[in-house]
């Protein structure tokens, strides 16, 4: 939180002119190179001398790295440098072996990403089976999903949303770039459509304890 507003250390309030844009670009370059995590423009700006235009310097830098071995990529609201995917073959030494995700985990992740914010009851309704605690825990632990706001419906169920790490991991600029999103939407498959005969929401039964019978409720009316 120390970020945006504060002018950086040597802030004689504009006693000095801002450094030339080329110099600002160097600064952005150094900061993005140094950080493993994406940085937002305000975060970058907070570390630069007073009067710098982080946005513009960033735009210059992006252009400079176009087509290079590393690229400046957008991750949600933030920016990062990542190697070009076509060079993956050189990186065998760098590959971190990751646990293979179960089908349940992959599907749950996809449902959260495409339907976010989504409640647990909704995930279960879509998959037709109850979601084990472990699945959501694992995805949260991986940093790919997190709790969103509570839904303002009876029971105030928690919702899940995808994180910046998720975007970073899958090389997405933002959630709107999810593959196949437009098709799903135009096919109406992202609509929340309550089962006929049910009075509105499904969320109301999103209790902490999901008993095995819970999912049968989805069908029994």
């Amino acid at each position: 939180m120390m970020d945006d507003a504060l002018p950086p250390a040597e802030n004689g309030p504009s006693l000095f002119k801002a450094p030339p844009i080329a110099e600002q670009e160097r600064m952005i370059e150094a900061m993005l190179f140094a950080s493993a995590d994406p940085l937002t423009v305000p975060q970058l700006a907070a570390r630069m001398p007073h009067g710098c235009d982080a946005s513009e310097a960033l735009a210059h830098l992006r252009k400079r790295y176009d087509g290079r071995g590393v690229r400046v990529v957008k991750v949600g609201e933030a920016w990062a440098i990542r190697t070009a995917p076509d060079l993956a073959f050189l990186m065998q030494n760098e590959v971190v072996e990751t646990r293979k995700l179960s089908r349940a985990a992959i599907e749950t992740l996809a449902i959260v990403a495409y339907h976010q914010p989504v409640t647990r009851a909704e995930i279960e309704e879509i998959r037709g089976v109850s979601v084990s605690r472990g699945t959501l825990d694992l995805l949260i632990e991986l940093g790919w999903i997190r709790l969103g706001r509570r839904r303002m419906t009876p029971g105030r169920p928690v919702t899940f949303v995808a994180t910046q790490d998720f975007l970073d991991h899958f090389g997405l600029e933002n959630a709107r770039d999810l593959p196949g999103l437009a098709e799903l939407r135009s096919a109406g498959l992202l609509d929340s459509r309550p089962p006929p005969g049910r009075v509105s929401t499904v969320e109301d039964n999103d209790d902490e304890v999901i008993d095995p019978d819970d999912q049968s409720e989805m069908f029994d009316e």
Partner: protein
């Protein structure tokens, strides 16, 4: 393949290959993630757009599947059976002419929703596959191998205003004013103490005497002690009067208050 033919084959004779496929499906029941997953698999065999899938036929396939599984003594989870019951109900709704007195959802509505659910699940599976097929961080593209940690230096500036300074000084110099209550007990005479004292004294005094003369030694000079002792003594006097042991009077406003033993005693 004609729908009817398929349907028949489930019920009666079928080719060896079909039978094997069928049994593989059944033995595989543990491989399905619940009834919806199974239904989706079954619907695949209709080889049609999920929007056009025949829910009626699907229901029959599912019910046939459950029947066979039961005959093979395969344990089925409750939710498979619940789904079977629901599909049987759906089937009857679809087959029978609508009952006008029933205002529940029509068979078509229910069937349409099931088709929607299947299509949605299939859709999510497809995009999940696409998602996992993307280049992934740490596998296809990489972050900085030696991230530099940004050292956080803290520059602390201290702030204090003139007011802070003056108040601090005032606080020190007036510290004694703020002694906690318990510390000030030595300049407080409680009513109980005054009452105790007066009970002992009142018996000897038959004359009207000002209550000030009852103040204990050492409580008459210091203003704080004097105020406290006076209040306590006055309250104690009232107690004695109430108990009928003393009489109290005051000639006029601000005149000295006097007290004496009740004459009856």
């Amino acid at each position: 393949m004609a729908n009817d033919g398929w349907q028949d084959s489930v019920v009666r004779g079928q080719s060896v290959a079909e039978r094997l496929a069928e049994e593989a499906l059944i033995v595989d029941v543990d491989g399905f993630e619940g009834p919806l997953d199974l239904l989706l698999s079954l619907s695949r065999t209709q080889k049609v757009d999920l929007r056009k899938v025949s829910v009626l036929m699907l229901a029959e396939q599912y019910l046939a599947f459950i029947e066979r599984a039961k005959s093979l003594r395969i344990e089925l989870a409750a939710d498979y059976l619940v789904m079977a019951a629901w599909l049987a109900f759906l089937k009857s709704r679809l087959l029978l002419p609508p009952d006008p007195s029933d205002d529940g959802p029509s068979g078509e509505d229910l069937a349409a929703h099931l088709a929607f659910q299947l299509e949605r699940l299939a859709g999510m599976r497809e995009v999940a596959k696409k998602l996992m097929a993307r280049d992934q961080l740490g596998r296809d593209f990489f972050a900085r191998g030696v991230p530099e940690t940004v050292t956080r230096t803290k520059a602390v500036t201290y702030s204090a205003t003139l007011l802070d300074l003056m108040q601090a000084y005032a606080r020190i110099r007036t510290r004694d004013d703020f002694r906690p209550f318990v510390m000030d007990r030595d300049s407080v005479l409680t009513m109980e103490e005054a009452l105790e004292r007066m009970r002992g004294l009142i018996g000897y005094v038959g004359e009207w005497t000002t209550i000030e003369s009852y103040l204990p030694d050492g409580w008459t000079v210091d203003p704080t002690r004097r105020v406290s002792a006076t209040a306590a003594t006055f309250a104690a006097s009232l107690e004695l009067v109430k108990a009928g042991r003393a009489e109290i009077r005051q000639a006029e406003v601000f005149a000295p208050i006097e007290i004496r033993r009740t004459t009856r005693q």
